[in-house]
Subunit: 459 residues, 2 copies
């Protein structure tokens, strides 16, 4: 019929392809999430069961991620070395017209999926932003990949546009939107059916009050978060590049490491796992929390400085990891931020498929939470304006920090969109956009984006 | 310093210009809103005061908007005839490389602002989407204009990109985002300081429960809304064009109307105002509600079919206009939709500055609400799934309908973003995106977008 033919004209001839792409990515992404979540569960279960014997407990805590990371590294090295890294720098290079041989092959895709699953299942600060792209509609593939990781279709499309292109066809925006929505939908439905999540709305659902989420007088604090995140983001990019450059220099050590490829990821994992060992130093930096638990707890609706570690309120859940009986919550947050900062910068240089988005997101959330808790201490009764008391919401500060730092590191403003899709609450949109813009202004003036930095280094 | 010079490089040399653009648009847009709101207030006050005498009441109800619309028409005809219409079709033409003489002048801008304010203050179904553009960064101007109308910076940017361009520079996305955020922020702050609004978050804030906003089994209903809105949107564009074409044909009537330019807008306003007269036929179509009150009440959190007109719950507010003691709420909604449908299609052809976005938005909300109320009657106890009872939220259906119908008429998917920025709730994002995509698929197969249709007719 005419309608059908016209529909075909509108969508190009590829809408069936877009549906299939969305479906495949959703299934792959969900399987990866499922497997890595099970792996983390086993990791934590093992740690819990071995509570009696600290030495064996420590060995298990360190060896488990080492095995997984070294397996990921080995597997990629053998099957498809081009699968190493986040994929976005490669995509950007391809879109600029450079032909990267064998980058877009099925072999590389399989290596990426297996390697990422193992990496994510190790609990190391590595993220997943796996763009599965095909030559013709690379940006669409990227959009679907990013959108599907977080269940944020719209943010995924915008982020991939910003990250990969300089000029952009509006037609592709439409196609990306279509495929990403379909994909995110399937992804969420799978989660509900698997009883991981009760609803199909948001991944890290926040629960801030909607009536008076923040006051204008809090804006300077949000601006400070934005500007600080700009500097921190630029420093993250700098640090990441320096690590790569040091490893690249020809010394006896690097020659040794190049020969024995598994030593470097193994050593990095060993150091990181040792430092986060919960009965050891990990107790001062919420080391027992896996990445997703970090985000969930940093976005929670409590004010930690008002809680005491002895009488915890019900419903606090995993957030109790941040409350130490002897150490102030500020110090825990600060230690977490400083330690995870270099850990993330180092672990994203390991030769496994990994992205920096999620680790940076967590860093930003921790920084925002720190500022929020400080504000809550400075104004314990909230801010009075015009007869209404605005209580400080540290969780809201964490959301803003997460958006600002990821924005600064990737040089995008769409992270604000990803953030409110992730949290399912749009109440902080204006301060978030202000913070993201400020962070971008500072970071763009100081350093290239993380992806451009990787491209430069790899040249 | 280096940082400053680098910042300049990032933003081009025009960031001061962007700030000024955002500031100006916010001030202008806010003044327009303020003036037209006061005008509507005076209109309703007059109607209330004259309650004793139906004849005088009727005269006041009809003459007041007639005077305003005819003034707007006369003013634009004298000062700058190019200010008539919504502006987006003209912008689109300019961006395609056609030079429209004198379109972007100060005179036209003043005519547009005055004409729009008068039109909005008349309570007629006309909207405002005034892109104030300047040659170099037209799209940015458009983004700021649209974003500022609704206080939706992000949706404004995306909408203007989709509507005006085929290819666009990511750089402009950044600039649009910057200017629109600044503008929306000033706009919201002005509203708070004027005590119109208590917070600076969302314009038509909804208050749906976040926990279980909808169930997967409601999805067919959302899909039906999407597909129906596709057909309805295409029919709206068709009807609007037919009205223009009939008026264009050379008959005795049209020659007469061309000679006496004020007759046409006057007659249209007369007919519409007569039909909406609250003590008359208006009681069956919530005629007393001004456009913004319509949206607020259609998005409310009650289930109207469960209320009786005799015992209204507190907090219902203006929504009581939809409850008639003798007539079912379904009939009222249906009448409202049918009557406002042709009224909106006709009144956007009046020779005054006006947009169709807001009227179509209201139509979509009414349609969605109708479906929602039907669903609430079919499933009075909600849908039971997996031990959780999902109560039907007719207000959520209204939001989805509004996004789908505006998406269908304008051929954009960004209306979903505008919608959740407007309501401040992202809980319905997935069904909304599905409905908007379906509406677009149907509407794009049947008719050009409203703006393209206007361009074709004006040729």
């Amino acid at each position: 019929s005419t309608l059908y033919r016209k529909l075909q004209g509108v969508l190009g001839n590829d809408w069936i392809f877009l549906v299939l792409l969305g479906l495949t990515m959703a299934l792959v992404s969900w399987s990866m999430d499922y497997t890595s979540a099970k792996s983390l569960q086993a990791y934590k279960w093992m740690h819990g069961e071995l509570r009696g014997n600290v030495l064996i407990q420590y060995l298990a805590w360190v060896v488990y991620p080492m095995v997984l990371v070294m397996f990921a590294s080995l597997f990629c090295n053998i099957v498809a070395p081009q699968a190493i890294g986040s994929g976005i720098p490669e995509l950007k290079t391809i879109l600029r017209g450079v032909v990267l041989k064998e980058y877009l092959t099925l072999k590389a895709f399989v290596a990426k999926v297996i390697g990422l699953t193992a990496g994510l299942g190790s609990g190391m600060p590595v993220g997943k932003e796996n763009p599965c792209g095909y030559t013709d509609i690379l940006t669409v593939g990227c959009a679907v990949g990013v959108g599907c990781c977080f269940g944020t279709p719209l943010g995924g499309v915008l982020f991939s546009i910003e990250v990969t292109s300089t000029y952009f066809a509006v037609r592709n925006y439409w196609r990306g939107y279509f495929a990403a929505t379909f994909s995110a939908f399937i992804f969420r439905v799978l989660s509900v059916w698997n009883k991981d999540a009760v609803t199909i709305t948001a991944l890290f659902r926040t629960n801030f009050r909607m009536d008076f989420p923040f006051d204008l007088q809090e804006l300077p604090a949000f601006a400070i978060i934005g500007i600080s995140c700009g500097f921190l983001g630029a420093f993250f990019v700098y640090l990441n590049r320096q690590v790569v450059l040091v490893m690249r220099r020809q010394t006896a050590l690097t020659r040794f490491l190049t020969k024995h490829r598994l030593i470097y990821p193994g050593a990095v994992t060993f150091v990181i796992a040792t430092l986060t060992f919960p009965p050891g130093f990990g107790q001062f930096m919420a080391g027992e929390l896996m990445p997703r638990e970090c985000i969930n707890s940093l976005f929670d609706n409590f004010t930690w400085t008002k809680l005491s570690a002895t009488a915890l309120p019900p419903g606090l859940g995993r957030s109790s990891a941040w409350l130490h009986p002897d150490v102030s919550v500020f110090l825990i947050l600060l230690l977490f931020f400083v330690m995870k900062f270099w850990m993330s910068a180092v672990s994203t240089t390991m030769p496994i498929p990994s992205g920096a988005f999620m680790p940076v997101f967590i860093l930003g959330a921790a920084f925002g939470r720190l500022v929020g808790e400080i504000m809550a201490t400075l104004f314990p009764n909230g801010i009075l304006f015009d007869g209404i008391v605005y209580r400080i919401l540290p969780g809201g500060y964490a959301v803003i920090g997460a958006a600002a730092l990821t924005g600064a590191v990737t040089h995008t403003v769409s992270t604000a969109v990803i953030c409110f899709e992730l949290t399912g609450q749009i109440s902080h949109i204006l301060p978030m956009m202000v913070a993201v813009i400020l962070a971008n202004m500072v970071a763009q003036g100081l350093q290239p984006s993380l992806y451009d930095s990787i491209i430069q280094v790899k040249k």
